[in-house]
Subunit: 307 residues, 2 copies
Amino acid sequence: MGDSKPAVHFERIAFIGIGLIGSSLARVIRRQGLADHIAVNARSHETLDTVMELGLADSVSTDAREVVSGADLVMVCAPLGAYASVTKAMAPALREGCIVSDVGSVKEVVFHDIGSQLPADVHLVPGHPVAGTEHSGPEAGFAELFQGRFCILTPNGQADDAAVQKVSDLWTAAGSTVEIMDAKHHDQVLAITSHLPHLIAYTIVDTATELEDTLKGEVAKYSAGGFRDFTRIAASDPTMWRDVFLTNRDAVLDVLGRFTEDLTALQRAIRRGQGEKLYDVFERTREIRRGVIEHGQEVPPAPPEKD
Amino acid sequence: MGDSKPAVHFERIAFIGIGLIGSSLARVIRRQGLADHIAVNARSHETLDTVMELGLADSVSTDAREVVSGADLVMVCAPLGAYASVTKAMAPALREGCIVSDVGSVKEVVFHDIGSQLPADVHLVPGHPVAGTEHSGPEAGFAELFQGRFCILTPNGQADDAAVQKVSDLWTAAGSTVEIMDAKHHDQVLAITSHLPHLIAYTIVDTATELEDTLKGEVAKYSAGGFRDFTRIAASDPTMWRDVFLTNRDAVLDVLGRFTEDLTALQRAIRRGQGEKLYDVFERTREIRRGVIEHGQEVPPAPPEKD
């Protein structure tokens, strides 16, 4: 950003909910001076106290209406399951021309749960920063979280171009590459790259927790053989992930069906001792890994030593 | 190790096969002077040239018999599927009192494929360092790979105590914590902590490779949402993993059956919109993560900047 004026500027940004993603974005906004005022809404006073202690907000309130009042950008960072109710609460207080965006992992549902309740003069620009860690809550955020990651916007041709551009500029300032995508397509892509992996990780860790006690005690101990990575994914926020599966049900069930077929084929190959079949699958999966590396997405994000 | 004498010493250590694990152990042995002579056997001249260039061996040969001749420790680091044939080749040349050990990920099969062919005066001490990366080959090794990891030995009460102690001392010198375990039990524990996770990771990446081209191109790009970790696991050595599934079939099929049942239950909960059920599973899996952290196994190993 250097010493020039910020790439984008808002008068008042309202956060509805503020966990890992929201607080990381608030840190970016603070650090670069991208808003005159940051107002934060959360359900609990405890969260709001934390946000004030962290210096992430100029004002806080448990009343969503109060927080969005006068805002030119409202960033919904609540769990997907709360979208309809928070929108109902805040909608009457939204100012004309206000942009409403979000950071949820499922995008088609946003038009229904948020969009259908917005006044006509408000611009909806759904967004999804493809970034995260297994930690939750405002303390877990850090400004570098979005650097080098993709942020997908799904305005679906319904939002004003200038509004899309402003949200895009915000994520660019956070260090992300912005992509515009159809919401339904987004949900299909993320079903395989994010939702299914989380479901699988939760399942395998759950399978381990139900083993006999003699085995269970050793699972964590010898986790360095591969299991460790699954436990990290399966430590993600349960509320957020419950809502992802409930709101992206069709796409998740579709890829889950494909996955199960493929797993059954491998199971059959193992049972029959078909080494060549196993080898062929294990060999061709390396190609995708190369793609991940080419896209610069291979390194998990890590918070800096001190934020 | 400081300036005192090494914790364990061998006259001649013979490596049968030398990939990521074998070459990392050879680096430890070299660095700490734990052997007067390191002799390496591999099938290809190319591998042997690499090993000489890396300074990991005093002598190399494609003839296993020549390499083990005079060795007081033979470390089998070949894929599990080659154990029977390499043992057949080297057995006649093993010296009296020699210790034969290995680094394979499945342990019960070692008694059959190696043990049954050894002369009575040779000590078999099967071993499994629970460590690794997704990279393969002697260039990928590094001496720090075993630090802070567990190494499981499965002598099953059949080996001489002094022989077990010497192998144990070697892994302790490499920075590992040594555990003695029954071979069959080892195979059950690793089926859940390592073999199933790899099978699942290979499957999900394979499922992604078979998507329509429009989706496929985006999978690597948006992999930071969880998929990335699976691609890393699924980039592991195909030969090694084929052999793991063929040699630990029963234990893998058993945990795979449990996993499939659990996954079906979650699938049903998603289809029926049972949010509470999903939440309960996602919440309880966090406990295992805490166990992983307590055992200090949460950080994946990384090679140093320069070995």
